[in-house]
């Protein structure tokens, strides 16, 4: 059928609300630390920590560990492939939602 979306193409990694929220916040900036993401997403520390680990394992985000003012700092950033996959997810979801009647 023309214009139909293969639902298998919907990336389930991005489809989970907490992960999607985190990725949207991360896509808005270049790099951010855990505290910034915690405040922006409103997730609990435990939940965010789990989501970040899962996203890092999948190669969607990169974890940068460094020292600033003699204190350890962990930063997160989207990888190029993660950014591309997130955009693809957005296109797929838009395609599906466009078919939804307004009324």
């Amino acid at each position: 059928m023309k214009g139909a979306v293969d639902h298998q193409k919907i990336d389930r990694l991005f489809h989970e609300p907490a992960r999607l929220k985190t990725l949207v916040e991360l896509a808005a900036v270049k790099k951010a630390d855990f505290t910034w993401l915690l405040n922006q997403t409103g997730l609990t520390r435990g939940n965010l920590s789990v989501q970040m680990s899962r996203l890092a394992e999948a190669g969607v985000i990169r974890i940068i560990k460094r020292f600033q003012n003699n204190r350890p700092q962990t930063l997160y950033e989207l990888t190029a492939s993660g950014k591309a996959a997130l955009l693809q997810y957005k296109r797929n979801m838009q395609h599906i939602l466009n078919a939804l009647p307004d009324g």
């Binding site: 949207v24 270049k30 855990f34 600033q68």
Partner: protein
């Protein structure tokens, strides 16, 4: 990245400025300039804005970042934040130099007092950085500060008062607003990084 990301980027950038520290420092600068004008200590009015502009970044690092978190914005915004500190110092120093020149003209020769409308000029000059903050940070409250400064300048001209009255009154209002925003921020955001 996309139009959706740009909306969230704008929101994230606004969040970056929600601590009230900049408001407090801006208010204190205006208040101290007014006080220095009143007490005729021109050096204080000249030095204090540069000191405040220099203190903003270390204070933000110490007070705000452990609570709000660390973030690096992409491309233009990142460049803007870095150039913001230098721009802020240059602009406040320039504005205040003009205000000091006005003060010296005002007090130096009683026989040749400047035109009445010049009394409102220091406040109008300080409304420019407030408008600049509003556009740069996308926070509407700075536009209100600019409006407050312009209204105070208008009242000064109409009442025939000395400029320091308007400077001290508007500086006090902005300082209190900044202090309230900062206190609320410190209460609502525990220092997560410090633990």
């Amino acid at each position: 990245m996309t139009p959706v990301a740009s909306v969230s980027e704008n929101r994230a950038f606004r969040s970056f400025w929600k601590d009230g520290l900049l408001d407090l420092m801006f208010g204190l600068v205006i208040l101290v300039v007014g006080l220095s004008w009143w007490q005729e200590v021109a050096v204080l009015g000249a030095v204090f804005p540069s000191v405040c502009a220099g203190l903003w970044y270390p204070l933000r690092k110490r007070l705000v970042e452990p609570r709000l978190g660390y973030v690096e914005f992409s491309g233009v915004r990142d460049l803007n934040i870095r150039s913001f500190r230098h721009g802020l110092t240059a602009f406040l120093t320039g504005s205040l130099t003009l205000a000091i020149i006005l003060y010296l003209v005002w007090t130096g020769n009683g026989a040749h007092r400047p035109m009445e409308w010049i009394a409102g000029l220091p406040l109008a000059l300080l409304a420019i950085p407030a408008l600049f903050f509003s556009v740069f940070t996308r926070c509407v409250r700075y536009a209100f500060y600019a409006l407050l400064l312009l209204i105070a300048g208008g009242i000064i001209i109409m009442q025939g008062w000395e400029p320091h009255v308007g400077l001290m009154a508007s500086g006090l209002v902005i300082s209190i607003a900044g202090l309230v925003i900062l206190a609320r921020f410190l209460l609502h955001y525990p220092a997560l990084n410090a633990t």
